[in-house]
Protein backbone atom coordinates (compact mmCIF):
# COMPACT_ATOMS: atom_id res chain seq x y z
CA UNK A 1 0.00 0.00 0.00
CA UNK A 2 2.74 2.34 0.98
CA UNK A 3 4.49 1.55 -2.24
CA UNK A 4 1.48 2.55 -4.25
CA UNK A 5 1.33 5.83 -2.35
CA UNK A 6 4.95 6.39 -3.12
CA UNK A 7 4.43 5.72 -6.82
CA UNK A 8 1.46 8.05 -6.98
CA UNK A 9 3.34 10.79 -5.24
CA UNK A 10 6.26 10.56 -7.60
CA UNK A 11 3.95 10.26 -10.58
CA UNK A 12 2.23 13.48 -9.61
CA UNK A 13 5.56 15.13 -8.97
CA UNK A 14 6.69 14.02 -12.42
CA UNK A 15 3.67 15.62 -14.03
CA UNK A 16 4.34 18.88 -12.25
CA UNK A 17 8.00 18.68 -13.16
CA UNK A 18 7.15 18.14 -16.82
CA UNK A 19 5.49 21.51 -17.23
CA UNK A 20 8.17 23.28 -15.22
CA UNK A 21 10.82 21.50 -17.25
CA UNK A 22 9.13 22.57 -20.48
CA UNK A 23 9.07 26.16 -19.33
CA UNK A 24 12.71 26.07 -18.36
CA UNK A 25 13.52 24.43 -21.68
CA UNK A 26 11.72 27.14 -23.61
CA UNK A 27 13.44 29.91 -21.67
CA UNK A 28 16.80 28.21 -22.20
CA UNK A 29 16.34 27.86 -25.95
CA UNK A 30 15.08 31.43 -26.24
CA UNK A 31 18.00 32.75 -24.20
CA UNK A 32 20.70 30.80 -26.02
CA UNK A 33 19.44 31.75 -29.47
CA UNK A 34 18.83 35.35 -28.45
CA UNK A 35 22.32 35.68 -27.03
CA UNK A 36 23.88 34.39 -30.21
CA UNK A 37 21.63 36.76 -32.16
CA UNK A 38 22.69 39.71 -30.05
CA UNK A 39 26.31 38.76 -30.53
CA UNK A 40 25.87 39.61 -34.21
CA UNK A 41 23.41 42.46 -33.89
CA UNK A 42 23.97 45.19 -31.30
CA UNK A 43 21.12 45.31 -28.83
CA UNK A 44 20.58 49.02 -29.44
CA UNK A 45 20.08 48.37 -33.17
CA UNK A 46 17.61 45.65 -32.35
CA UNK A 47 15.56 47.54 -29.78
CA UNK A 48 15.60 51.02 -31.29
CA UNK A 49 16.04 50.46 -35.03
CA UNK A 50 13.11 51.60 -37.11
CA UNK A 51 13.52 49.23 -40.02
CA UNK A 52 12.87 45.51 -39.96
CA UNK A 53 14.06 43.73 -43.10
CA UNK A 54 16.08 40.78 -41.76
CA UNK A 55 15.44 38.52 -44.76
CA UNK A 56 16.44 40.99 -47.45
CA UNK A 57 19.77 41.51 -49.15
CA UNK A 58 20.53 44.51 -46.92
CA UNK A 59 19.21 43.29 -43.59
CA UNK A 60 18.04 45.71 -40.89
CA UNK A 61 17.17 44.42 -37.48
CA UNK A 62 15.17 47.23 -35.88
CA UNK A 63 12.30 45.56 -34.09
CA UNK A 64 10.26 48.74 -33.55
CA UNK A 65 8.00 48.27 -36.60
CA UNK A 66 6.97 44.85 -35.26
CA UNK A 67 6.44 46.27 -31.78
CA UNK A 68 4.41 49.12 -33.25
CA UNK A 69 2.26 46.67 -35.21
CA UNK A 70 1.67 44.59 -32.10
CA UNK A 71 0.82 47.65 -30.01
CA UNK A 72 -1.52 49.04 -32.63
CA UNK A 73 -3.54 45.88 -33.04
CA UNK A 74 -3.60 45.26 -29.29
CA UNK A 75 -4.71 48.82 -28.59
CA UNK A 76 -7.62 48.49 -31.01
CA UNK A 77 -8.54 45.17 -29.43
CA UNK A 78 -8.49 46.73 -25.98
CA UNK A 79 -10.65 49.62 -27.13
CA UNK A 80 -13.28 47.03 -27.95
CA UNK A 81 -12.73 44.53 -25.16
CA UNK A 82 -12.31 46.84 -22.17
CA UNK A 83 -15.49 48.93 -22.26
CA UNK A 84 -17.67 46.13 -23.57
CA UNK A 85 -16.15 43.57 -21.24
CA UNK A 86 -16.47 45.82 -18.22
CA UNK A 87 -20.03 46.82 -18.99
CA UNK A 88 -21.14 43.26 -19.55
CA UNK A 89 -19.42 42.33 -16.29
CA UNK A 90 -21.34 45.08 -14.47
CA UNK A 91 -24.54 43.83 -16.00
CA UNK A 92 -23.90 40.18 -15.19
CA UNK A 93 -22.73 40.86 -11.68
CA UNK A 94 -25.14 43.59 -10.57
CA UNK A 95 -28.20 43.57 -12.76
CA UNK A 96 -28.85 40.15 -14.26
CA UNK A 97 -30.82 37.71 -12.13
CA UNK A 98 -29.21 34.42 -11.31
CA UNK A 99 -31.01 32.39 -13.97
CA UNK A 100 -30.13 34.76 -16.77
CA UNK A 101 -26.55 35.01 -15.56
CA UNK A 102 -26.22 31.25 -15.61
CA UNK A 103 -27.47 31.18 -19.19
CA UNK A 104 -25.56 34.18 -20.56
CA UNK A 105 -22.15 33.58 -19.05
CA UNK A 106 -21.43 30.24 -20.75
CA UNK A 107 -22.68 31.65 -24.05
CA UNK A 108 -20.30 34.57 -23.70
CA UNK A 109 -17.52 32.18 -22.92
CA UNK A 110 -18.17 30.26 -26.12
CA UNK A 111 -16.58 33.27 -27.84
CA UNK A 112 -13.34 32.38 -26.12
CA UNK A 113 -13.64 28.81 -27.33
CA UNK A 114 -13.83 29.62 -31.04
CA UNK A 115 -10.52 28.61 -32.68
CA UNK A 116 -8.50 31.73 -33.43
CA UNK A 117 -7.98 30.68 -37.05
CA UNK A 118 -11.74 31.04 -37.49
CA UNK A 119 -11.55 34.54 -36.07
CA UNK A 120 -8.70 35.26 -38.45
CA UNK A 121 -10.66 34.40 -41.55
CA UNK A 122 -13.71 36.06 -40.08
CA UNK A 123 -11.69 39.27 -39.89
CA UNK A 124 -10.15 38.86 -43.33
CA UNK A 125 -13.15 37.71 -45.35
CA UNK A 126 -16.08 39.26 -43.50
CA UNK A 127 -15.11 42.21 -41.32
CA UNK A 128 -12.59 43.78 -43.70
CA UNK A 129 -14.97 43.89 -46.72
CA UNK A 130 -17.66 45.27 -44.40
CA UNK A 131 -15.34 48.03 -43.23
CA UNK A 132 -14.27 48.72 -46.80
CA UNK A 133 -17.87 49.48 -47.66
CA UNK A 134 -17.62 52.38 -45.21
CA UNK A 135 -13.98 53.34 -45.82
CA UNK A 136 -13.01 52.43 -49.40
CA UNK A 137 -9.32 53.25 -48.95
CA UNK A 138 -8.92 50.60 -46.28
CA UNK A 139 -6.31 48.09 -47.40
CA UNK A 140 -7.25 44.42 -47.66
CA UNK A 141 -4.83 43.71 -44.86
CA UNK A 142 -5.01 46.24 -42.06
CA UNK A 143 -4.68 46.58 -38.31
CA UNK A 144 -8.27 47.70 -37.77
CA UNK A 145 -10.20 44.60 -38.68
CA UNK A 146 -8.08 42.02 -36.79
CA UNK A 147 -7.97 44.45 -33.86
CA UNK A 148 -11.75 44.64 -33.68
CA UNK A 149 -12.15 40.90 -34.03
CA UNK A 150 -9.47 40.24 -31.44
CA UNK A 151 -11.32 42.59 -29.10
CA UNK A 152 -14.42 40.44 -29.48
CA UNK A 153 -12.35 37.34 -28.85
CA UNK A 154 -10.89 38.57 -25.55
CA UNK A 155 -14.12 40.20 -24.41
CA UNK A 156 -15.18 37.10 -22.43
CA UNK A 157 -11.83 37.03 -20.66
CA UNK A 158 -12.31 40.60 -19.50
CA UNK A 159 -15.96 40.21 -18.56
CA UNK A 160 -15.52 36.89 -16.85
CA UNK A 161 -12.58 37.93 -14.67
CA UNK A 162 -14.04 41.37 -13.93
CA UNK A 163 -17.32 39.82 -12.96
CA UNK A 164 -15.57 37.42 -10.58
CA UNK A 165 -13.84 40.39 -9.02
CA UNK A 166 -17.10 42.32 -8.64
CA UNK A 167 -18.93 39.39 -7.15
CA UNK A 168 -16.11 39.12 -4.66
CA UNK A 169 -17.03 42.54 -3.30
CA UNK A 170 -18.74 41.94 0.06
CA UNK A 171 -22.48 42.37 0.17
CA UNK A 172 -22.14 44.78 3.05
CA UNK A 173 -20.61 47.43 0.83
CA UNK A 174 -23.57 47.35 -1.52
CA UNK A 175 -26.06 47.39 1.31
CA UNK A 176 -24.26 50.31 2.88
CA UNK A 177 -24.53 52.17 -0.39
CA UNK A 178 -28.23 51.44 -0.73
CA UNK A 179 -28.76 52.50 2.88
CA UNK A 180 -27.31 55.87 1.97
CA UNK A 181 -29.92 56.19 -0.73
CA UNK A 182 -27.79 55.39 -3.77
CA UNK A 183 -29.43 54.00 -6.88
CA UNK A 184 -28.41 50.68 -8.35
CA UNK A 185 -26.39 52.42 -11.03
CA UNK A 186 -24.57 54.55 -8.49
CA UNK A 187 -23.87 51.51 -6.36
CA UNK A 188 -22.53 49.54 -9.30
CA UNK A 189 -20.31 52.18 -10.81
CA UNK A 190 -19.20 54.13 -7.74
CA UNK A 191 -18.97 51.43 -5.11
CA UNK A 192 -18.63 47.98 -6.63
CA UNK A 193 -16.36 48.83 -9.55
CA UNK A 194 -13.87 50.84 -7.45
CA UNK A 195 -13.93 48.15 -4.77
CA UNK A 196 -13.11 45.51 -7.34
CA UNK A 197 -10.61 47.77 -9.08
CA UNK A 198 -7.49 45.71 -8.58
CA UNK A 199 -9.25 42.58 -9.77
CA UNK A 200 -10.56 44.41 -12.82
CA UNK A 201 -7.12 45.83 -13.56
CA UNK A 202 -5.69 42.35 -13.30
CA UNK A 203 -8.26 41.18 -15.84
CA UNK A 204 -7.36 44.07 -18.15
CA UNK A 205 -3.69 43.35 -17.98
CA UNK A 206 -4.24 39.68 -18.63
CA UNK A 207 -6.33 40.67 -21.65
CA UNK A 208 -3.57 42.96 -22.92
CA UNK A 209 -1.08 40.15 -22.58
CA UNK A 210 -3.46 37.84 -24.43
CA UNK A 211 -3.83 40.41 -27.21
CA UNK A 212 -0.09 40.85 -27.57
CA UNK A 213 0.49 37.13 -27.78
CA UNK A 214 -2.41 36.45 -30.16
CA UNK A 215 -1.07 35.01 -33.38
CA UNK A 216 -3.46 33.50 -35.86
CA UNK A 217 -5.81 36.45 -36.27
CA UNK A 218 -3.04 38.90 -37.06
CA UNK A 219 -1.06 36.44 -39.14
CA UNK A 220 -4.09 35.98 -41.35
CA UNK A 221 -5.71 39.39 -41.45
CA UNK A 222 -3.19 42.09 -40.55
CA UNK A 223 -0.75 41.59 -43.41
CA UNK A 224 2.95 40.86 -43.36
CA UNK A 225 4.58 44.18 -43.81
CA UNK A 226 6.63 45.51 -40.91
CA UNK A 227 5.76 49.16 -40.84
CA UNK A 228 6.30 51.80 -38.21
CA UNK A 229 2.90 53.44 -38.25
CA UNK A 230 -0.11 54.22 -36.11
CA UNK A 231 -2.42 54.19 -39.12
CA UNK A 232 -4.89 51.33 -38.66
CA UNK A 233 -5.86 51.30 -42.34
CA UNK A 234 -2.67 49.84 -43.81
CA UNK A 235 -1.01 46.42 -43.55
CA UNK A 236 1.21 45.91 -40.51
CA UNK A 237 3.07 42.95 -39.10
CA UNK A 238 3.07 41.95 -35.47
CA UNK A 239 5.82 40.12 -33.62
CA UNK A 240 3.82 36.91 -33.60
CA UNK A 241 2.94 37.18 -37.28
CA UNK A 242 6.61 37.59 -38.11
CA UNK A 243 7.49 34.42 -36.24
CA UNK A 244 4.80 32.58 -38.17
CA UNK A 245 6.03 33.99 -41.45
CA UNK A 246 9.62 32.89 -40.93
CA UNK A 247 8.66 29.51 -39.54
CA UNK A 248 6.55 28.82 -42.62
CA UNK A 249 9.24 29.78 -45.11
CA UNK A 250 12.41 27.81 -45.40
CA UNK A 251 14.98 30.03 -43.80
CA UNK A 252 17.83 27.64 -42.99
CA UNK A 253 18.31 26.81 -39.32
CA UNK A 254 21.21 28.31 -37.48
CA UNK A 255 21.45 31.42 -39.64
CA UNK A 256 21.11 34.95 -38.31
CA UNK A 257 17.76 35.28 -40.09
CA UNK A 258 16.53 32.21 -38.29
CA UNK A 259 17.67 33.52 -34.93
CA UNK A 260 15.63 36.67 -35.39
CA UNK A 261 12.51 34.70 -34.53
CA UNK A 262 14.03 33.74 -31.19
CA UNK A 263 15.02 37.30 -30.45
CA UNK A 264 11.52 38.48 -31.30
CA UNK A 265 10.09 35.58 -29.32
CA UNK A 266 12.19 36.54 -26.33
CA UNK A 267 10.93 40.11 -26.48
CA UNK A 268 7.38 38.85 -26.71
CA UNK A 269 7.96 36.47 -23.82
CA UNK A 270 9.45 39.15 -21.59
CA UNK A 271 6.52 41.44 -22.40
CA UNK A 272 3.72 39.00 -21.70
CA UNK A 273 5.55 37.47 -18.73
CA UNK A 274 5.94 40.90 -17.15
CA UNK A 275 2.26 41.68 -17.72
CA UNK A 276 1.19 38.37 -16.24
CA UNK A 277 3.32 38.98 -13.16
CA UNK A 278 1.74 42.39 -12.64
CA UNK A 279 -1.69 40.87 -13.10
CA UNK A 280 -1.03 38.11 -10.55
CA UNK A 281 0.37 40.61 -8.09
CA UNK A 282 -2.72 42.81 -8.40
CA UNK A 283 -5.05 39.89 -7.89
CA UNK A 284 -3.18 38.80 -4.76
CA UNK A 285 -3.55 42.27 -3.34
CA UNK A 286 -7.25 42.33 -3.99
CA UNK A 287 -7.74 39.00 -2.31
CA UNK A 288 -6.09 40.26 0.84
CA UNK A 289 -8.35 43.29 1.05
CA UNK A 290 -11.57 41.43 1.63
CA UNK A 291 -10.35 38.15 3.05
Amino acid sequence: MKRVEFLIEWGLFGCALLSIGTTIGIILVLTIETVSFLRQVPIADFLFGTEWTPLFATPRFGVLPLVAGTMLVSAIAMLVALPMGLLSAVYLSEYADERLRRAVKPVLEILAGVPTVVYGYFALLFVTPLLQAVAPTLAGFNALSPGLVMGIMILPLVSSLSEDAMRGVPRGLREGSYALGATKMQTSLRVVVPAAFSGITAAFILAVSRAIGETMIVAIAAGQQPRLTADPRVPVETMTAYIVQVSLGDTPQGTLEYRTIFAVGMLLFIGTFGLNLVSTWLRERYREEYA
Binding site: E51, T53, L55, F56, A57, T58, R60, V117, Y121, L124, T128, P129, Q132, P136, T137, A139, G140, F141, A219, I220, G223, Q224, Q225, P226, R227, V234, P235, V244, Q245, L248, G249, D250, T251
Partner: protein, 342 residues
Protein backbone atom coordinates in the same frame (compact mmCIF):
# COMPACT_ATOMS: atom_id res chain seq x y z
CA UNK B 1 11.73 28.26 -52.38
CA UNK B 2 9.23 25.80 -51.11
CA UNK B 3 6.53 28.37 -51.33
CA UNK B 4 4.59 26.95 -54.16
CA UNK B 5 4.44 23.61 -52.57
CA UNK B 6 4.01 24.85 -49.05
CA UNK B 7 1.07 26.98 -49.90
CA UNK B 8 -0.86 23.88 -50.74
CA UNK B 9 0.03 22.25 -47.47
CA UNK B 10 0.42 25.26 -45.29
CA UNK B 11 -1.75 27.70 -43.46
CA UNK B 12 -3.71 28.66 -46.49
CA UNK B 13 -5.49 25.37 -46.71
CA UNK B 14 -8.63 26.98 -45.54
CA UNK B 15 -8.83 28.99 -48.74
CA UNK B 16 -7.64 26.60 -51.41
CA UNK B 17 -9.16 23.20 -51.86
CA UNK B 18 -6.96 20.40 -50.70
CA UNK B 19 -4.87 19.21 -53.57
CA UNK B 20 -1.51 17.55 -53.60
CA UNK B 21 -0.82 17.05 -49.91
CA UNK B 22 -0.49 13.92 -47.92
CA UNK B 23 0.57 10.62 -49.31
CA UNK B 24 4.05 11.61 -50.44
CA UNK B 25 7.38 11.02 -48.87
CA UNK B 26 8.59 7.50 -48.53
CA UNK B 27 7.16 4.95 -50.83
CA UNK B 28 5.94 1.76 -49.30
CA UNK B 29 8.50 -0.84 -50.17
CA UNK B 30 7.49 -4.26 -51.35
CA UNK B 31 8.18 -6.94 -48.85
CA UNK B 32 11.03 -8.59 -50.72
CA UNK B 33 12.51 -6.11 -53.19
CA UNK B 34 14.75 -3.34 -51.95
CA UNK B 35 13.38 -0.19 -53.54
CA UNK B 36 15.28 1.28 -56.46
CA UNK B 37 16.43 4.81 -55.69
CA UNK B 38 16.32 7.85 -57.97
CA UNK B 39 18.13 10.89 -56.61
CA UNK B 40 17.34 14.44 -57.65
CA UNK B 41 18.74 17.70 -56.45
CA UNK B 42 18.96 21.29 -57.62
CA UNK B 43 16.78 24.33 -58.09
CA UNK B 44 14.22 25.21 -55.48
CA UNK B 45 12.07 26.65 -58.26
CA UNK B 46 11.89 23.31 -60.04
CA UNK B 47 11.51 21.43 -56.77
CA UNK B 48 7.70 21.61 -56.61
CA UNK B 49 7.50 20.11 -60.10
CA UNK B 50 9.88 17.27 -59.38
CA UNK B 51 8.30 16.68 -56.01
CA UNK B 52 4.81 16.48 -57.51
CA UNK B 53 5.94 14.24 -60.38
CA UNK B 54 7.85 12.05 -57.93
CA UNK B 55 4.85 11.72 -55.70
CA UNK B 56 2.60 10.56 -58.52
CA UNK B 57 5.32 8.30 -59.84
CA UNK B 58 5.87 6.62 -56.50
CA UNK B 59 2.15 5.99 -56.14
CA UNK B 60 2.21 4.07 -59.41
CA UNK B 61 5.60 2.47 -58.70
CA UNK B 62 5.72 1.59 -55.03
CA UNK B 63 9.07 -0.14 -55.32
CA UNK B 64 10.91 2.95 -56.55
CA UNK B 65 11.97 5.63 -54.13
CA UNK B 66 12.58 9.15 -55.43
CA UNK B 67 14.37 11.75 -53.31
CA UNK B 68 14.34 15.41 -54.31
CA UNK B 69 16.82 17.81 -52.74
CA UNK B 70 16.98 21.59 -52.83
CA UNK B 71 20.54 22.80 -53.17
CA UNK B 72 19.79 25.50 -55.70
CA UNK B 73 20.60 25.14 -59.38
CA UNK B 74 24.33 25.70 -58.83
CA UNK B 75 24.58 23.38 -55.84
CA UNK B 76 22.59 20.79 -57.73
CA UNK B 77 25.02 20.84 -60.66
CA UNK B 78 27.98 20.47 -58.31
CA UNK B 79 26.55 17.24 -56.97
CA UNK B 80 25.41 16.16 -60.42
CA UNK B 81 28.90 16.55 -61.88
CA UNK B 82 30.29 14.52 -58.99
CA UNK B 83 27.88 11.73 -60.01
CA UNK B 84 26.07 12.00 -56.70
CA UNK B 85 22.65 12.53 -58.28
CA UNK B 86 20.81 11.04 -61.23
CA UNK B 87 18.86 14.11 -62.25
CA UNK B 88 19.53 17.79 -61.64
CA UNK B 89 16.76 20.37 -61.40
CA UNK B 90 17.73 23.69 -63.01
CA UNK B 91 15.97 27.02 -63.31
CA UNK B 92 18.55 28.19 -65.85
CA UNK B 93 20.67 26.43 -68.47
CA UNK B 94 23.93 24.82 -67.40
CA UNK B 95 26.85 27.29 -67.21
CA UNK B 96 30.22 26.89 -68.97
CA UNK B 97 32.06 26.15 -65.70
CA UNK B 98 29.53 23.46 -64.90
CA UNK B 99 29.77 22.04 -68.42
CA UNK B 100 33.50 21.77 -67.90
CA UNK B 101 33.16 20.15 -64.47
CA UNK B 102 30.83 17.53 -65.88
CA UNK B 103 33.12 16.95 -68.83
CA UNK B 104 36.09 16.36 -66.53
CA UNK B 105 34.16 13.84 -64.50
CA UNK B 106 32.97 12.16 -67.69
CA UNK B 107 29.32 12.86 -66.94
CA UNK B 108 27.15 13.11 -70.00
CA UNK B 109 23.71 14.61 -69.61
CA UNK B 110 20.47 15.08 -71.47
CA UNK B 111 18.95 18.54 -71.22
CA UNK B 112 15.16 18.56 -71.05
CA UNK B 113 12.77 21.49 -70.59
CA UNK B 114 9.85 20.59 -68.36
CA UNK B 115 7.83 23.78 -67.82
CA UNK B 116 7.88 27.56 -67.83
CA UNK B 117 8.07 29.86 -64.89
CA UNK B 118 6.05 33.00 -65.62
CA UNK B 119 5.63 35.98 -63.34
CA UNK B 120 2.60 38.20 -63.66
CA UNK B 121 2.25 41.79 -62.55
CA UNK B 122 -1.19 42.23 -61.07
CA UNK B 123 -3.33 45.03 -59.71
CA UNK B 124 -6.80 45.27 -58.24
CA UNK B 125 -9.66 44.93 -60.78
CA UNK B 126 -10.85 48.40 -59.70
CA UNK B 127 -7.55 49.90 -60.80
CA UNK B 128 -8.40 51.87 -63.94
CA UNK B 129 -5.06 53.55 -64.61
CA UNK B 130 -2.44 50.80 -64.78
CA UNK B 131 -2.91 49.71 -68.39
CA UNK B 132 0.70 48.63 -68.80
CA UNK B 133 4.05 48.96 -67.07
CA UNK B 134 7.57 49.03 -68.42
CA UNK B 135 10.51 47.09 -67.04
CA UNK B 136 12.18 50.41 -66.26
CA UNK B 137 9.16 51.45 -64.19
CA UNK B 138 9.23 48.13 -62.38
CA UNK B 139 12.85 48.80 -61.59
CA UNK B 140 12.04 52.29 -60.28
CA UNK B 141 9.40 50.78 -58.10
CA UNK B 142 11.24 47.76 -56.69
CA UNK B 143 14.87 48.83 -56.49
CA UNK B 144 16.33 49.00 -52.95
CA UNK B 145 16.69 52.80 -53.33
CA UNK B 146 12.91 53.11 -53.69
CA UNK B 147 12.40 52.10 -50.09
CA UNK B 148 10.57 54.82 -48.18
CA UNK B 149 10.68 57.11 -51.24
CA UNK B 150 8.55 55.74 -54.05
CA UNK B 151 5.28 55.55 -52.19
CA UNK B 152 2.73 56.95 -54.59
CA UNK B 153 1.51 55.87 -58.00
CA UNK B 154 2.42 59.15 -59.69
CA UNK B 155 6.04 58.74 -58.65
CA UNK B 156 6.24 55.76 -60.98
CA UNK B 157 4.48 57.44 -63.89
CA UNK B 158 3.38 61.05 -63.77
CA UNK B 159 0.02 60.32 -65.38
CA UNK B 160 -0.92 57.90 -62.62
CA UNK B 161 -2.91 59.20 -59.66
CA UNK B 162 -1.36 60.85 -56.64
CA UNK B 163 -2.37 58.05 -54.30
CA UNK B 164 -0.55 55.53 -52.12
CA UNK B 165 0.83 52.46 -53.80
CA UNK B 166 0.77 49.28 -51.77
CA UNK B 167 3.14 46.54 -52.86
CA UNK B 168 2.85 42.79 -52.60
CA UNK B 169 5.38 40.21 -53.61
CA UNK B 170 6.67 36.69 -53.15
CA UNK B 171 8.65 35.88 -50.01
CA UNK B 172 12.39 36.48 -50.12
CA UNK B 173 13.08 32.76 -49.69
CA UNK B 174 11.34 31.92 -52.92
CA UNK B 175 12.77 31.38 -56.37
CA UNK B 176 9.99 33.65 -57.59
CA UNK B 177 11.46 36.56 -55.64
CA UNK B 178 15.00 35.79 -56.82
CA UNK B 179 13.88 35.71 -60.38
CA UNK B 180 11.72 38.81 -60.18
CA UNK B 181 14.50 40.90 -58.66
CA UNK B 182 16.99 39.63 -61.19
CA UNK B 183 14.70 40.38 -64.13
CA UNK B 184 13.61 43.83 -62.99
CA UNK B 185 16.14 45.33 -60.59
CA UNK B 186 18.99 43.52 -62.27
CA UNK B 187 20.47 41.91 -59.18
CA UNK B 188 19.17 38.75 -57.61
CA UNK B 189 17.78 39.29 -54.12
CA UNK B 190 18.00 43.08 -54.27
CA UNK B 191 14.74 44.89 -53.65
CA UNK B 192 13.07 47.34 -51.35
CA UNK B 193 12.00 45.85 -48.05
CA UNK B 194 8.84 47.78 -47.38
CA UNK B 195 6.31 45.62 -49.13
CA UNK B 196 4.07 42.76 -48.02
CA UNK B 197 6.23 39.76 -48.69
CA UNK B 198 4.69 36.36 -48.22
CA UNK B 199 5.68 32.79 -49.00
CA UNK B 200 1.99 32.09 -49.25
CA UNK B 201 0.65 33.20 -52.62
CA UNK B 202 -2.89 33.14 -51.28
CA UNK B 203 -1.97 35.99 -48.99
CA UNK B 204 -0.84 37.99 -52.01
CA UNK B 205 -3.97 37.22 -54.01
CA UNK B 206 -6.09 38.22 -51.05
CA UNK B 207 -4.06 41.37 -50.47
CA UNK B 208 -4.17 42.61 -54.06
CA UNK B 209 -7.77 41.61 -54.66
CA UNK B 210 -8.96 43.52 -51.61
CA UNK B 211 -6.92 46.69 -52.04
CA UNK B 212 -7.63 49.18 -54.82
CA UNK B 213 -4.13 50.67 -54.55
CA UNK B 214 -2.19 47.42 -54.64
CA UNK B 215 0.37 46.15 -57.12
CA UNK B 216 2.05 42.80 -56.85
CA UNK B 217 3.87 40.01 -58.65
CA UNK B 218 2.78 36.40 -58.61
CA UNK B 219 3.47 33.14 -60.43
CA UNK B 220 1.39 33.33 -63.59
CA UNK B 221 -0.36 30.00 -63.22
CA UNK B 222 -1.50 31.14 -59.83
CA UNK B 223 -3.03 34.27 -61.27
CA UNK B 224 -4.95 32.20 -63.79
CA UNK B 225 -6.62 30.32 -60.98
CA UNK B 226 -7.75 33.65 -59.52
CA UNK B 227 -8.46 35.48 -62.73
CA UNK B 228 -11.66 37.17 -61.60
CA UNK B 229 -10.03 38.74 -58.54
CA UNK B 230 -6.98 40.24 -60.22
CA UNK B 231 -6.17 42.43 -63.20
CA UNK B 232 -3.11 41.55 -65.24
CA UNK B 233 -0.81 44.40 -66.20
CA UNK B 234 0.93 43.98 -69.58
CA UNK B 235 4.69 44.41 -69.36
CA UNK B 236 6.82 46.28 -71.89
CA UNK B 237 10.50 45.41 -71.92
CA UNK B 238 11.30 48.17 -74.40
CA UNK B 239 12.74 45.71 -76.90
CA UNK B 240 11.02 45.19 -80.21
CA UNK B 241 12.55 41.86 -81.18
CA UNK B 242 10.47 39.78 -78.77
CA UNK B 243 7.11 41.35 -79.26
CA UNK B 244 6.68 45.08 -79.58
CA UNK B 245 5.00 47.16 -76.91
CA UNK B 246 3.38 45.86 -73.76
CA UNK B 247 2.79 42.12 -73.70
CA UNK B 248 0.09 40.56 -71.54
CA UNK B 249 1.24 37.55 -69.64
CA UNK B 250 -0.66 34.50 -70.73
CA UNK B 251 0.35 30.90 -71.05
CA UNK B 252 0.64 31.67 -74.77
CA UNK B 253 3.00 34.66 -74.54
CA UNK B 254 5.10 32.81 -71.98
CA UNK B 255 5.39 29.82 -74.31
CA UNK B 256 6.28 31.81 -77.40
CA UNK B 257 8.92 33.82 -75.59
CA UNK B 258 7.37 37.25 -76.12
CA UNK B 259 6.53 37.83 -72.46
CA UNK B 260 10.00 38.90 -71.45
CA UNK B 261 11.81 39.26 -69.15
CA UNK B 262 9.39 37.80 -66.64
CA UNK B 263 9.28 34.27 -67.98
CA UNK B 264 11.83 31.55 -68.35
CA UNK B 265 11.97 27.83 -69.12
CA UNK B 266 12.82 25.31 -66.41
CA UNK B 267 14.94 22.24 -67.04
CA UNK B 268 15.94 18.89 -65.74
CA UNK B 269 19.32 17.42 -66.63
CA UNK B 270 19.40 13.63 -66.70
CA UNK B 271 22.70 11.78 -66.40
CA UNK B 272 23.23 9.62 -69.47
CA UNK B 273 24.26 6.68 -67.33
CA UNK B 274 21.20 6.92 -65.11
CA UNK B 275 18.99 7.15 -68.19
CA UNK B 276 19.87 3.52 -68.94
CA UNK B 277 17.98 2.41 -65.85
CA UNK B 278 14.39 1.50 -66.67
CA UNK B 279 12.93 3.16 -63.57
CA UNK B 280 14.71 6.44 -64.40
CA UNK B 281 13.39 6.23 -67.94
CA UNK B 282 9.85 5.81 -66.73
CA UNK B 283 10.29 8.59 -64.19
CA UNK B 284 11.66 11.09 -66.71
CA UNK B 285 8.94 10.19 -69.21
CA UNK B 286 6.31 10.91 -66.58
CA UNK B 287 7.37 14.58 -66.64
CA UNK B 288 6.18 14.79 -70.23
CA UNK B 289 2.67 13.68 -69.35
CA UNK B 290 2.21 15.79 -66.25
CA UNK B 291 0.92 19.02 -67.77
CA UNK B 292 -1.94 19.32 -65.28
CA UNK B 293 0.47 18.80 -62.42
CA UNK B 294 2.72 21.62 -63.62
CA UNK B 295 -0.23 23.96 -63.58
CA UNK B 296 -1.28 22.78 -60.16
CA UNK B 297 2.06 23.61 -58.59
CA UNK B 298 2.13 27.06 -60.14
CA UNK B 299 3.86 26.79 -63.52
CA UNK B 300 3.01 27.01 -67.19
CA UNK B 301 3.24 23.69 -68.97
CA UNK B 302 4.94 23.28 -72.36
CA UNK B 303 2.91 22.63 -75.48
CA UNK B 304 2.20 18.97 -76.26
CA UNK B 305 4.48 19.27 -79.31
CA UNK B 306 7.33 20.42 -77.10
CA UNK B 307 6.79 17.59 -74.66
CA UNK B 308 6.87 15.24 -77.65
CA UNK B 309 10.08 16.81 -78.85
CA UNK B 310 11.61 16.57 -75.39
CA UNK B 311 10.52 12.96 -75.12
CA UNK B 312 12.09 12.31 -78.48
CA UNK B 313 15.36 13.90 -77.35
CA UNK B 314 15.32 11.72 -74.31
CA UNK B 315 14.59 8.59 -76.31
CA UNK B 316 17.49 9.44 -78.64
CA UNK B 317 19.71 10.15 -75.63
CA UNK B 318 20.76 13.41 -77.16
CA UNK B 319 23.47 14.65 -74.83
CA UNK B 320 24.89 18.11 -74.31
CA UNK B 321 23.30 21.51 -73.99
CA UNK B 322 21.71 23.82 -76.50
CA UNK B 323 23.21 26.73 -74.63
CA UNK B 324 26.75 26.21 -75.83
CA UNK B 325 28.00 29.58 -74.65
CA UNK B 326 26.05 29.16 -71.44
CA UNK B 327 23.61 31.45 -69.74
CA UNK B 328 20.05 32.01 -70.72
CA UNK B 329 19.33 33.40 -74.13
CA UNK B 330 16.52 35.88 -74.17
CA UNK B 331 14.20 35.53 -77.09
CA UNK B 332 15.32 32.00 -77.86
CA UNK B 333 12.19 29.91 -77.83
CA UNK B 334 12.17 26.31 -76.79
CA UNK B 335 10.92 25.37 -80.26
CA UNK B 336 14.07 26.75 -81.78
CA UNK B 337 16.16 25.12 -79.07
CA UNK B 338 14.69 21.69 -79.36
CA UNK B 339 14.67 21.65 -83.13
CA UNK B 340 18.28 22.73 -83.44
CA UNK B 341 20.48 20.39 -85.46
CA UNK B 342 17.52 18.59 -86.93
Amino acid sequence: MLNRYLRMCGLALTIVPFTACGGGGSAPSEADATPALIQLDGSSTVFPISEAVAEEFQKANPNVRVTVGISGTGGGFQKFCRAETDISDASRPIRPAEIEACQKAGIEYIELPVAYDGLAIVVNPKNTWADHITVAELKTLWTPEAQGKILRWNQVRASWPNRDIRLFGAGVDSGTYDYFTEATVGKEGASRGDFTSSEDDNVLVQGVSSDELALGFLPLAYVEQNRSKLKLVPVDDGKADNGEGPVTSTAETVRNGTYQPLSRPLFIYVARKAAERPEVQRFVESYFSSAALMREVGYVELTPQLYDLAAQHFAERRVGTAFGAGGSQVGMTLEKLLTREQ
